[in-house]
């Protein structure tokens, strides 16, 4: 079957019930999206389907159809301003500790800022509470979303090597 990932059409030979997560990681080789629970509880597997966050561990690959799938490797092309701001603030504030959940956190955070450039604390709670961080980097995740939002608002979104 064919699926569209990061703007590229990919031919994959996979059982139709294989979760998209494993098609991405094992078949295509995009390992930025992580496995944490397999039951859509932790958010480590977050990708975008047509620009909206999706837990890829719970989506059988046969249900992807002709949706556009974006992974952490591909958000730079699809959401350049927001992803640069988020990834820059993530590094500036040293958000990650072990880092394993952070691809999912970034996917959810960038998606949030795209639809809601000035999120309140409650907005952040709702957008991000599907992403567990066992290291509890939540204080800095929240802070980095806010500083990314500020920098986007002030237009200072350039020079953003992640």
């Amino acid at each position: 079957m064919k699926i569209k990932v990061n703007g590229q059409e990919r031919e994959i030979d996979a059982a139709p019930d294989m979760p998209l997560l494993w098609a991405l990681r094992d078949i295509i080789g995009l390992t930025g999206t992580k496995f944490g629970c397999g039951v859509a509880q932790c958010g480590a597997c977050t990708v975008w389907m047509n620009g909206r966050p999706l837990r890829s561990c719970a989506m059988p690959v046969q249900a992807v159809g002709d949706s556009e799938i974006t992974t952490i490797e591909g958000i730079g092309a699809v959401a350049a301003r927001e992803s640069q701001a988020v990834q820059r603030e993530w590094a500036a504030l040293d958000v990650p500790q072990c880092g394993y959940c952070q691809s999912g956190q970034v996917m959810s955070a960038v998606a949030l800022l795209r639809i809601n450039p000035k999120p309140t604390d409650r907005d952040i709670d709702l957008a991000m509470n599907g992403n567990i961080c066992r290291c509890a980097t939540y204080v800095r995740i929240r802070q980095a979303i806010k500083t990314a939002s500020d920098s986007l608002a002030s237009g200072a979104a350039s020079g953003g090597a992640a």
Binding site: A14, A15, D17, M18, P19, W22, R25, D26, I27, G29, T31, G32, T33, K34, F35, G36, C37, G38, V39, Q41, C42, A44, T71, I72, E73, V86, Q87, W90, A91, A92, D94, V95, P96, Q97, C98, G99, Y100, C101, Q102, S103, V106, I124, D125, L126, M128, N129, N131, I132, C133, R134, C135, A136, T137, Y138, V139, R140, I141, R142, A162
Partner: protein, 738 residues
Amino acid sequence: MSRLPQAYYSPAALLSRAVSRRAALRGLGALVIGVQLPLRARAQATASPAGTGLFAPNAFVRVGADDTVTIVSKHIEFGQGPWTGLATIAAEEMDADWSKVRAEHAPSDAKLYANLAFGTLQGTGGSSAIANSYEQMRKAGASARAMLVTAAARQWQVPETEISVAAGVITHQKSGRSGRFGAFAAAASRLPVPKDPPLKDAAGFRLIGRDHSVRRLDSAEKSNGQAMFTLDQRLPGMLTVVLARPPRFGGVAAQVDDAAARAVHGVVDVKRVPTGVAVYAENTWAALQGRKALRITWDETRAEKRGTDELLAEYRLLSKQPGLSAGMHGDPKAVFARGGQMLEAEYIFPYLAHGPMEPLDGCLSWEGDTAVIRMGSQIQTGDHGTIAATLGIPMEKVQIHTLLAGGSFGRRGQANSHFAAELAEVSKAINRSRPVKLMWTREDDLQGGYYRPMVVHRMRAAIENGAIAAWSSTVVTQSFLKGSPFEAMIQNGLDPTSVEGASELPYELPNFSCELHSPAVGVPTLWWRSVGHSHTGYAVETFIDELLEKTGKDPVAGRLELMGKQPRAAGVLRAVAKAANWTGPGPVSGRARGCAVVESFGSYVAQIAEVSMGESGEPIVHKVWCAVDCGVAVNPDVIRAQMEGGVGYGLGHALFAAVPLRDGVPTVSNFNNYRSLRINEMPEVEVVIVPSTEKPSGVGEPGVPPVAPAVGNALARLGKGRVRQLPFVTPKTVEKSV
């Protein structure tokens, strides 16, 4: 619990077998600088791309022709910051340019990379990374600097004393000449290594202890999906392997029907291994589907069939009987016999799973007759020896490449290296024919044991003349050291990790005793972030809080009165009370505050939590203030982050987590029922680092123990009584309030 012969189990024995095969026998510690890097270790140390003209004066520092400074970290980086910390220390003494500093993991080599706090063992734990590496990394950096300066001096034909180094640039002011490290790397590599290079005066530090002087070395790659973890490893021909394990600990597979499993497209083989039945497949999904299709009957004759209810009943009985003495002064029994005002309390703590976001995983491939392992190995020497023993090959034929890992909290540092053994068995079972990636799923992780043990504390105190006259406690908990290679830590039958924080108090009390029972239970257990302090912190800090309340004392002032001999503990308590503007526990406008102070692994941490009750019946923790004294603070921001993370980890587990067993079977399976703290439940955290010139101590664990008791102490002021069983929230709690 151990499945390997005793001879292979002792790290000292493993090490002496390895060492006897080495040509040169070197001691550790201060002599590291003088050690010529052996060829094998050098080959492994250059695993990452490096320029030519490599200058490697010791096992810890390399300088490339391109000015890159690579710090070789003997400690695994799984979030707690040793890459950045060790690099900061060396870069400080080198006067390196931080933007050119990189870190990588050291190979497994206990002679070069032992944790000096452990002895002859390479490993990470006990919040010891910075403490044991501080002087070592200073010398490593100072050595490199001295040699670069000598090389520059010789090239420029000027006295060394006229040369200065700053931010990676070597300068001879007088003549205006300068150059970066790379320009002198080749020349420096031909010089003798100085025995005692001068170290900086702390007053001259530009990186150590300075905020904003460095950023973490691993933040960028962890923010863009580029950081590679064990599960991300892909090798040609690699098979992904999952194991079906017995539902009860101690069970073994009796009959295996693997026909349906083998029929799953992508499944390549099914093999029995000591810990279960392994399914080998071309991809993860096939392996998981194959495992689901196995039909196994388990022989449970030797399995642990007790559940946590039965164990609790047994523990409570034991707690009322005299145990092994863990500490005593004065005569508490005599005071109790006087029959005055008494307080008795029983505390119950559940089994806890560590739940690192990356479950256990490892890769094993073969390069000729050498086994190459890639995994987040936390106790490399133990894993190394275990793999060699399991495969029946010499230590030299095993290489461990330690990788970044998605958390540990103790889980990856196994006393018995059970995962490494399992990985080796999985490769052995298919005769080394293909590389294997063994992974545990989340269910495997939560149900696979090696938990923080269940604990019961029975506490008793006597109050006379408005003061605590006597304090006794009896602790009942499994010993995870018993039967493990770390058994030597048990002295006279007493496992110190079971009672740390309870066998000695920071409070001056006239009569004191602490006793221990170590029941044998077939559930495998392990150190969990902060180890004994994860439960003693709660029992001690809530019991003292209750006693102070009963004697009419303020929680902070009352503790301070008893801390005459503990200036550092008193120091952090004062600092946190100041930061929080403490005026008492409240409640004020529905919010109450609780405090707690715990010293663990050499660091002192005091916390104050501000709490209210949510409509759902769950506590809401609004803010936690935290004061930490960890000696010299190498990376203040990493320290803050570890306090924030420790608060979150401790709080989440205290609020929600338990692994109950029913008839020996764990009743949780994933994050839906092993509830994990989420962003909306995380309090605001404010950290104060108390300035200190004491030797640096750790921060990986010390942030954890005080938060649960601080919250419990606050809850006591909200009309909830004294909570003596964790977690605070259970399905029942919520039901009750609705």
